[in-house]
């Protein structure tokens, strides 16, 4: 604890300054103060906490990451990270703060984009903003969600009204400077029958050290349809901790694909809940890590009401000395009859030093359910390998092709061509292979 006390001082000074300077309503300042208090008391989680058993974040506490006061990102620096499909629907966060000048909202019609400070004082949206903020990711979840809440500043509130459909995918693009701690936060509220695709991209092309501590909350009302892509390609020196909280309602469909490629140490928490009967969710993911990377996905799919369907397919490719953790819980509560829950976590270990700890969990308190789950850890299938060899592919090509195929099951589901292409390339790059499709 002692070693952390010093770091807390660093955050404390920044926190007090930012709280004082913030033009925010009392309730929000109070929420921030409470969150910071939680953090001061609890610090970052340690491996003694069961939920963090395999992911030791002490290294983050030992760094001297500071809150940025400004940034020098320019449109030119940002451009390569903007997906073609989102050129006119991109919301840029630099060092955790929404940067309107770098953003382009031209194609976001029929929906409202507000910075948090605007949303909090907005006559029309103030109430719903207050009601939803922090409702899907509890700031007391852990030290990271607490610290993110404590530093709530210029986040983005995206409101998609009833029946509206945003045609262009909305890209939230997060970039950071070296040595900084960034606490970006997004709140998406989709009213009934609303439709949109959102993309979160965490990216940094060079190898620098910084901390991203991100939170996104997504709320779907009846019959809303949201596709949610999350692509984490932070610098390989960076630390990344993210929490995604989602609620869906009757007839709504939430389809998430979470891709992890970057960061030295990363963690992604998913809190998903069905808030009415008859919702459907896909929560899929792929982590592709190597060298000394560490990634941990913790997800909870909470079936609290009847007749909801959840599908979760997570795949991991782990090379070098990298280490992955997958902990996925499907919770079926007492009155959630008619639940259909599926979960699978398949891991491919490409080296002898690679390691994965996977723990799919079913907690079922109702008899009338259909649930299946499973996890595998292994090497490539020998029969598949022989099949490719028997067609003349040399062994390394054959292995790469199979590994690529393993990843493609997730990549192929992505409906945005330039994300798919980028990931295709990233996978091939990682495999060092030329498999040109």
């Amino acid at each position: 604890m002692n070693s952390q006390a010093g770091k807390e001082t660093i955050y404390t000074k920044d926190f007090l300054a930012s709280l004082e300077n913030a033009n925010q309503p009392e309730w929000l300042k109070n929420l921030r103060s409470e969150a910071f208090e939680y953090f001061t008391e609890n610090g970052f989680p340690t491996p003694r906490n069961e939920e963090w058993k395999y992911t030791n974040v002490a290294a983050i506490g030992n760094e001297d990451f500071r809150i940025a006061q400004s940034s020098d990102f320019t449109p030119e620096k940002i451009a390569p990270f903007v997906f073609n499909e989102s050129k006119e629907s991109v919301l840029v966060f630099s060092n955790g703060s929404f940067d309107r000048n770098l953003s382009n909202l031209d194609a976001i019609k029929d929906a409202t984009v507000l910075s948090f400070s605007a949303a909090a004082s907005d006559e029309k949206f103030g109430e719903i903003f207050k009601a939803k903020l922090g409702s899907l990711v509890d700031f007391e979840k852990n030290g990271f969600t607490a610290l993110n809440a404590a530093f709530i500043g210029e986040g983005v509130f995206l409101f998609i009204p009833k029946n509206a459909k945003i045609e262009s995918p909305v890209q939230f693009l997060f970039v950071s400077d070296e040595g900084k701690a960034a606490f970006p936060r997004v709140l998406v509220v989709a009213e009934s029958f609303a439709e949109a695709t959102i993309i979160e991209t965490f990216v940094r092309a060079d190898e620098t050290k910084y901390l991203t501590d991100a939170v996104i909350e997504v709320s779907l009302a009846d019959e809303a349809k949201i596709k949610h892509y999350r692509v984490q390609r932070e610098s390989h020196e960076a630390f990344h901790v993210g929490a995604s909280g989602t609620e869906v309602a009757r007839g709504s469909v939430y389809d998430a694909t979470n891709i992890t490629l970057g960061a030295r140490l990363s963690r992604h928490d998913i809190d998903f809940k069905f808030n009415s009967e008859g919702g459907e969710a896909f929560v899929d993911g792929l982590y592709l890590i190597s060298e000394d990377q560490h990634h941990d996905t913790h997800s909870v799919i909470d079936h609290r009401l009847p007749n909801c369907t959840s599908h979760q397919t997570y795949k991991g490719i782990i090379d070098g000395k990298a280490r992955a953790v997958f902990n996925g819980k499907i919770l079926v509560r007492e009155n959630a009859s008619g639940t259909d829950g599926y979960q699978s976590n398949k891991n491919l270990l490409l080296s002898n030093d690679a390691r994965v700890d996977t723990k799919p969990q079913l907690e079922i308190f109702n008899d009338d359910v259909k649930c299946a789950h499973g996890a595998t850890v292994g090497q490539l299938e020998e029969e598949e390998l022989f099949y490719l060899l028997s067609r003349g592919l040399n062994e390394s090509l054959a292995r790469n092709l199979l590994t690529y195929g393993f990843a493609e099951e997730i990549v192929n589901k992505i409906e945005i061509e330039s994300i798919k292409k980028q990931l295709d390339e990233a996978v091939l790059n990682r495999l060092n292979a030329n498999l040109e499709a």
Binding site: E382, E383, E384, F386, Y387, L388, L389, S390, R391, G392, L393, N394, E395, L397, A398, L401, L402, Y404, G405, F406, A407, E408, E409, N412, L435, E436, A437
Partner: protein, 250 residues
């Protein structure tokens, strides 16, 4: 001679399955291998293709005069040996066309010939797919994934057509095919047939041999060739079953 198998003993997990098999195949010939279930036909096919699960205990296999057994499976394939599997494997996430192009280009590289880029290859593939009357919608799909039994077999023949092997070993490619598919597959095989190439057909049914006339028919029983003959032998087997040849083999 293209392929010479001399007194081959081979097995799996310490169990001997091929017990002294000898077979010679010349260029231009079609050999049919028939025999009861479990007699070792697929084992022979896999040993020739170099499956790592099978071990060769003794004997010799020469392909174009060179020791085939010391080559890795991929080297065997690039030298012109092709096995159409009895149970083709599904390869999720890898598209048929991508897989075929990589295989084709590996062969071209081996021959020191020009490789094809995706567009060029696509044209080539379309031509070849006509041979097996396969729709181009199959190109984009993952290799064999979700293919029906017959479609998998046709896909094997498509691969053979693309790779143009010197020696093709077809392990029960006719099993599970409907009449039309059988005709199509046989047509594909006949197209490959020429004076430079040889084909080994493993089959249980005489009906395939109505479409592809073999030069020789061999009966494999209990790990050995127990009888050889011309195409009439297949008819005789159909009529009398295997007991009489098995008895003759002992």
């Amino acid at each position: 001679m293209l392929l010479e198998i001399k007194d081959l003993h081979a097995g799996i997990e310490g169990r001997e399955i091929l017990k002294g098999l000898t077979l010679n195949v010349n260029r231009g010939e079609v050999h049919a291998i028939m025999g009861p279930n479990g007699s070792g036909k697929s084992t022979l096919a896999k040993v020739l293709a170099g499956h790592p699960g099978y071990e060769v205990i003794s004997g010799e296999v020469l392909f174009e005069g060179k020791n085939l057994l010391e080559l890795d499976p991929d080297e065997r394939a690039r030298s012109g040996v092709f096995l159409a599997f009895q149970y083709p494997v599904e390869v999720p996430g890898v598209s048929n066309s991508q897989f075929l192009r990589l295989a084709y280009n590996e062969k071209m590289k081996h021959l020191g010939e020009e490789e094809l880029d995706p567009l060029e290859f696509n044209d080539y593939l379309k031509e070849k797919a006509k041979v097996v009357e396969m729709d181009s919608s199959f190109f984009k799909r993952s290799v064999n994934e979700g293919f029906s039994g017959g479609e998998k077999k046709r896909n094997e023949i498509l691969q053979m057509a693309v790779l143009e092997p010197k020696l093709a070993i077809l392990d029960e490619t006719d099993s599970g095919l409907d009449i039309d598919a059988l005709r199509i597959v046989a047509g594909g095989v006949n197209k490959l047939r020429d004076s430079e190439k040889a084909i080994i057909l493993v089959t249980h049914y005489q009906r395939l041999l109505n479409y592809i006339t073999p030069d020789f028919v061999h009966v494999l029983a209990n790990g050995k060739i127990v009888k050889q003959g011309g195409k009439e032998l297949a008819l005789e087997l159909e009529e009398k079953g295997y007991d009489w040849v098995k008895a003759a083999g002992k």
